[in-house]
């Protein structure tokens, strides 16, 4: 009797320990959210800076008490869209090549390269962008510098490859062999089979990969900081214009900012946070609708 009781106690203790571990993530996300929102909403609640000016302003001059982030929002969105436009097709075709066409040897090499790409620290992407991409952009640019929306897009397009490739590849490989056989048996070619049967069947998985890629691109800071130019004002109107995404704005100035300036950097974080949250909700919805699509 005693032994059984002790055993049960032990189970309860271990279970509580696991529960505490599981709560670390929950508590962290709550703490970060509350912290960022508390600080970020302060200037608007206390009316030390008008929300409207913050969201619609196109100049960020802390010295003159001008804190507008609209041009940053636009910069972030343009950079992300561009990266998706270039990166996603490349990633999907890579995934198709690995899972449908490459022999097992070449497939392994490519997969290994993609995994390695995922492991490279983002600052090195930035250094690569600054050393290679920026000079090339400068050559074709009418501007005096190579740091630009274009350079940012190219670096981000490479950075999202691993995410989109690996998730797309997994979902393409998960397409039942029966679909492929059915298609081939009807006299479809390999390309027809891939585009008409395999990719549509893998669609929701691929979309999840794309959305995670968007999340990665919009949240990327270090690599982008080195190639985007970080201007203090101006909505980008050409690929060669410099941009200042939301992320780099925070990273560049948080170290020394104080007062309203610092609080508005938190506010920038809130905007970024909302973007990321929308993306995550979209992923969840997609994953849920996956079954029976």
């Amino acid at each position: 009797m005693q032994a059984i009781k002790r055993k049960k106690q032990k189970e309860t203790i271990i279970e509580s320990f696991f529960l505490i571990c599981a709560f670390v993530a929950v508590i962290s996300v709550l703490a970060i959210t509350v912290f960022v929102f508390y600080n970020g909403l302060k200037p608007f609640v206390s009316n030390s800076y008008p929300l409207w000016d913050f969201l619609t302003g196109v100049e960020w001059r802390p010295g003159s008490n001008m804190y507008g982030i609209f041009y940053m929002i636009v910069g972030s969105i343009f950079a992300t869209l561009g990266a998706i436009l270039i990166g996603v097709p490349v990633a999907i075709f890579t995934a198709v090549y690995i899972s449908e066409m490459a022999g097992s040897r070449i497939g392994k090499v490519i997969r290994f390269a993609v995994e390695l790409l995922a492991g490279i620290p983002s600052v090195l992407y930035g250094v690569f962008g600054l050393g290679i991409i920026v000079p090339y952009v400068l050559k074709i640019s009418p501007m005096a510098q190579g740091e630009s929306l274009l350079a940012t897009i190219l670096v981000l397009a490479i950075m999202i490859l691993p995410t989109v490739v690996s998730i797309s590849e997994t979902s393409i490989s998960a397409v039942p062999r029966e679909y492929r056989e059915g298609s081939y048996a009807l006299g479809a070619s390999k390309i027809q089979t891939i585009f008409k049967v395999v990719l549509p069947a893998a669609r929701s998985g691929i979309m999840t990969g794309v959305i995670l890629g968007i999340g990665r691109a919009i949240g990327e800071t270090m690599a982008v900081m080195l190639v985007c130019g970080n201007p203090i004002a101006g909505i980008p109107t050409s690929l060669f214009d410099q941009i200042r995404p939301l992320t780099t704005n925070i990273a560049l100035e948080m170290g020394y900012a104080s007062g309203v300036h610092q609080e508005l950097l938190y506010s920038t974080g809130v905007v970024l946070f909302i973007f990321i949250m929308i993306i995550n909700l979209a992923v969840n919805k997609l994953v849920k609708t996956k079954v029976g699509s």
Partner: protein, 252 residues
């Protein structure tokens, strides 16, 4: 050469890596007959069936020796595999409709061959479904997902999809093994009615099924064809002891 012979295999060997799955198969399959392959699991009957439309191409380690003559041409030579597969259709063990609408499932094959005309596709879809005895059940929901159909309906859809290509031969790899008796009976009826237009080759685990629907039966054992003859002879008066043992249920 007898023009009624659709398939003629000569000394056909097939290897999966080092394992020999088919041993010197010589078989003549006649036009507009139903030919059944029976035999225990792993005897090579499905493998042989998949040789006839080159589905084994999809498996890397397969190596084939010998000839498969289809309408006078060796299909392991430099033939157009896509053309071969439009002429030799296949229905699989597990119903495998594509995750798209019923209409699109049928139109898929013709579209892959470049048929774009909407009227032509509409007609083809209807005709194929009628022939596959499925039209009445699905005519009001052609644009609904094919995955919403029952297993038996899905399998008839797969047959309709194959018919839409107007093939000369239909290969069926245990087409009823995943279905209930009623759905099975429907498919068997369908096969008898399709027989007048198509050459049908069916792999089956059910000897009763082979007896009911086939004109010729081949008994496979460990990669060899033990006996190939008129179905009534195979079932009532087999020449080989092993065939007799199998059909009387002594092994397998």
């Amino acid at each position: 050469m007898d023009t009624n012979i659709k398939f003629n295999t000569k000394n056909l060997d097939l290897f999966y890596g080092d394992f020999q799955a088919l041993k010197s198969i010589n078989m003549e399959i006649r036009e507009k007959e139903v030919t059944a392959f029976i035999g225990p699991s792993g005897c090579g009957k499905s493998t042989f069936l998949r040789c006839l439309n080159r589905m084994n191409d999809l498996i890397d380690s397969v190596k084939i020796n010998g000839e498969i003559i289809f309408d006078g041409q060796d299909i392991n030579g430099t033939i157009d595999v896509i053309n071969l597969r439009t002429r030799v259709g296949m229905v699989f063990q597990k119903p495998n409709p594509f995750p798209m609408s019923i209409y699109e499932n049928i139109a898929y094959g013709p579209k892959c061959q470049g048929v774009k005309d909407k009227n032509q596709l509409d007609t083809l879809v209807k005709e194929s479904l009628v022939k596959a005895a499925l039209w009445d059940e699905v005519k009001d929901r052609l644009n609904k997902s094919a995955l919403g159909l029952s297993g038996g309906q899905q399998q008839r859809l797969c047959i309709a999809r194959t018919i839409a290509m107007n093939p000369e031969v239909i290969l069926m790899d245990e087409p009823t093994s995943a279905l209930d008796p009623i759905a099975t009976a429907k498919i068997e009826d369908l096969m008898s009615s399709l027989k007048k237009d198509y050459t049908i080759i069916i792999v089956t685990h059910s000897m009763q099924q082979a007896g009911r629907i086939s004109d010729k039966t081949a008994f496979f054992l460990m990669g060899e064809v033990i006996e190939f003859n008129e179905t009534p002879i195979i079932f009532t008066n087999p020449h080989d002891k092993r065939t007799e043992d199998y059909i009387t249920g002594r092994f397998g």
